[in-house]
């Protein structure tokens, strides 16, 4: 029993935190200092840090590490609201890993491990089989997909892969400015079909990553609130000395730490192939999204008026909190699915 980060995982966490701290912050990007999708940053992520290769099997040119390692990195990405596009790429990696045969893995995951950014369209596109193979039709959204050179499309007929330049792509304005998203439109575009057997496993990997990302973001909102409560003075005292503020922060800590337990366990269960991995990923996604929304909202409250301004980072986390909630299943939908396994149709 050692439900804690190992020495190597702690090193990875610190490396990720250090790397991200040296990049332009979300605020810098919003104010035009640096660009949200910077190929030079991505190149360093891929080549110096190797994070896109974490889940890629060694045979396909990756490290063959586990979900836990990738989750550790995502917690740090969440803390700084970085997308990069590691999220889109990790989603595509999960689908290729779980749905691709050895040949598809070698080709496509090999490209990802070598530094090709990728993204996923989860809905809106359907496929048809013709005399010359499969073609795709429709439009959807690829979250964190602005830089992707590879697209993975989840259609009712299967999971498909295609080079991104075969699709029409247009920037989609997004409530969450730290999450660059593109609209993807395809018409009679050929694509390679993977199996659908692993779709649920891929989804649970993605839910687990979103959970870890949300935990990092939630902890950041707590830190902002606690730091501010020490320096903001009212009635002649730091507001952090008032129980009304202390109790808000205590409840935030409880939410963050519980969500972290859930997110760590989901990653462990996925790596172990545990029977309860599916439920663990749903639990992590639901609890972490609820925790982040709670914390991001309470952080604004602790900050008072300044928290409502464009100048302060509070709104970035609040918008992330809302945008991650609907991605890959609202907490309510995950609870409904867990209720179904507990209660049946009743």
């Amino acid at each position: 029993m050692d439900f804690a980060l190992s020495w190597e995982q702690t090193q990875l966490k610190e490396a990720a935190a250090g790397f991200l701290a040296a990049l332009p912050s979300a605020r810098d990007l919003l104010e035009g200092r640096g660009t949200l999708e910077d190929p030079a940053v991505w190149k360093r992520v891929a080549e110096e840090q190797g994070w896109p290769a974490i889940l890629v099997p060694e045979e396909a040119g990756g490290f063959g590490f586990g979900q836990v390692e990738l989750s550790v990195v995502f917690e740090e990405f969440g803390r700084t609201l970085t997308s990069c596009p590691l999220l889109g790429t990790a989603f595509a990696t999960a689908l290729l890993l779980e749905c691709g045969d050895a040949q598809a893995q070698e080709r496509w995951l090999g490209a990802i491990a070598a530094g090709e950014p990728a993204a996923v369209v989860w809905s809106g596109i359907s496929a048809e089989e013709g005399p010359f193979g499969w073609t795709l039709e429709g439009q959807g959204v690829a979250v964190d997909g602005g830089m992707a050179s590879l697209l993975v499309i989840v259609a009712p007929q299967g999971v498909f892969v295609l080079p991104a330049d075969l699709a029409d792509r247009t920037r989609v304005p997004h409530l969450d400015p730290t999450r660059p998203s593109v609209g993807v439109s395809v018409s009679a575009v050929p694509a390679e079909r993977l199996t659908v057997d692993g779709l649920e496993r891929a989804r649970m990997r993605c839910e687990s990553l979103l959970a870890s990302e949300a935990v990092g973001a939630a902890e950041a909102t707590l830190q902002l609130a606690v730091d501010y409560s020490r320096v903001r003075t009212q009635f002649g005292k730091p507001i952090g000395s008032f129980q009304a503020i202390q109790h808000i922060c205590a409840d935030m800590l409880l939410a963050v730490e519980s969500a972290r337990s859930a997110a760590w366990y989901a990653a462990c269960a996925i790596d172990a192939g545990a029977d309860d991995a599916r439920e663990a990923a749903r639990t992590a996604k639901a609890m972490a999204c609820d925790a982040l929304f709670h914390c991001a909202g309470q952080s604004i409250q602790v900050h008072g008026g300044i928290g409502f301004t464009w100048e302060h980072d509070c709104h970035l986390y609040f918008k992330r909190a809302r945008s991650v909630m609907d991605l890959l299943g609202h907490p309510r939908e995950h609870r409904a699915a867990v209720a179904q396994t507990l209660l049946g149709d009743a």
Partner: protein, 388 residues
């Protein structure tokens, strides 16, 4: 990251399980699941016998050092024991106060003579203890206590009132915080921790009838109650530090292992929801799933705490987080218990008696052993370092 217990720990789990299977028979099987929270006044005589049965098997005072009659068990082993204890539905412990509160306090602060005199009876399950901390005007503000103790003619003389004392009728001894120096500059100075025999004319006990209709707690009145001058734990006037130490261990390993007892209660409510048809209501389903998820995470939180502190056994910082988490979960479960019963929930149906008890009892969970508000103060100040 590894969530499996070691082979040695798993072997220990099997040993506990086998012993409980073998001994939870006859009269003891009859009181399976009884005497827990909200039910502590049930089957007291049987549970006193059970305490001795446990002692016979060497299962009392697991975490105490072997020199004091314990097993010197690791924190992992203690948690495993409490998990198996809950899984077996073994009855609520009457020896809890002695084993978890008074015993560790005497081990930490008591004299050698006190250790020799008081610890063996706790290990053997023959001496029961009760705690005399809270008073009518000393709840969250414990240092505001006013029970007086004076040293006269070689004995301490106590006058005052304690409240919310569990097992007061059964206990042979009480460890009581008393004011011994009313002139002290600060109110948490001048407090002394005294060990007081319960069977004497100066001690009277009045049960408190609670919201549940049952009486698990009592008021204890000291009217010139006496105890020997040597029955002081820690320094005279220095009882506050002793008391704080007790509160730090109050929620330790037994709390980390209690999640499995909650699993039993949760399953009972899921079964009731199916019986009443509430399980087809989407709002009820959402709450059942939410409580299920939070219950799973309760154990994960416990395993993280355990992993972080197995070596130093220092649980005081986490204790507040753990208490706040489970008490709110349990209260929410109590509310769900009524909602699954539907529109006739208020009718006292013997089939669902324990759901009513759960609903009512859980209002105490967020109050005793430090209210949720006190826990939030402690979390903010100790874990988050917010200014006082």
């Amino acid at each position: 990251m590894n969530l499996s217990f070691s082979a040695e720990d798993e072997a220990f789990r099997q040993e506990v399980r086998a012993w409980l299977d073998e001994h939870m028979v006859g009269d003891f099987a009859r009181i399976r699941g009884r005497g827990g929270l909200g039910d502590m006044d049930a089957f007291v005589d049987e549970r006193i016998a059970w305490e001795r049965e446990l002692a016979g098997g060497g299962w009392t005072c697991l975490g105490w050092p072997t020199e004091y009659g314990g097993r010197g068990a690791s924190l992992f082993e203690e948690v495993i024991f409490y998990e198996e204890y809950a899984r077996a539905g073994a009855p609520g412990r009457v020896g809890h106060v002695g084993e978890h509160l008074l015993g560790p306090t005497v081990i930490a602060h008591g004299s050698d003579a006190q250790k020799a005199r008081f610890l063996p009876g706790i290990v053997a399950g023959t001496d029961l203890w009760c705690q005399g901390y809270s008073e009518p005007n000393a709840g969250s503000d414990l240092a505001n206590l006013s029970t007086r103790a004076e040293l006269r003619d070689g004995r301490w003389h106590l006058t005052g009132q304690k409240v919310w004392t569990s097992l007061a009728e059964q206990a042979q001894w009480c460890f009581a915080l008393c004011k011994t120096d009313p002139t002290a500059a600060k109110k948490h100075h001048g407090i002394t921790c005294l060990l007081v025999p319960m069977d004497q004319p100066g001690v009277s006990i009045v049960p408190i009838k609670q919201i549940t209709g049952s009486s698990e707690f009592a008021e204890v009145f000291f009217e010139d109650a006496v105890t020997d001058k040597d029955n002081v734990v820690g320094p005279i006037h220095g009882g506050w530090r002793v008391a704080m130490g007790t509160l730090a261990v109050e929620r330790g390993a037994s709390t980390l292992g209690q999640q499995l007892a909650f699993v039993g209660e949760f399953d009972r409510i899921v079964a009731a929801a199916k019986e009443t048809g509430a399980a087809s209501n989407p709002l009820i389903r959402d709450r059942i799933a939410d409580l299920h998820m939070r219950l799973k995470v309760m154990r994960l939180n416990a395993m993280r705490t355990l992993s972080a502190h197995a070596a130093d056994r220092e649980l005081s910082r986490e204790a507040s987080i753990v208490k706040l988490y489970w008490s709110v979960w349990h209260r929410d479960l109590g509310e769900l218990a009524m909602d699954v019963l539907g529109e006739s929930s208020a009718i006292c149906d013997p089939r669902y008696e324990e759901l009513h008890r759960l609903f009512l009892w859980t209002r105490s969970d967020t109050i005793y052993a430090g209210t949720n508000q006190i826990q939030r103060n402690l979390i903010a100040q100790r874990a988050l370092g917010m200014p006082r």
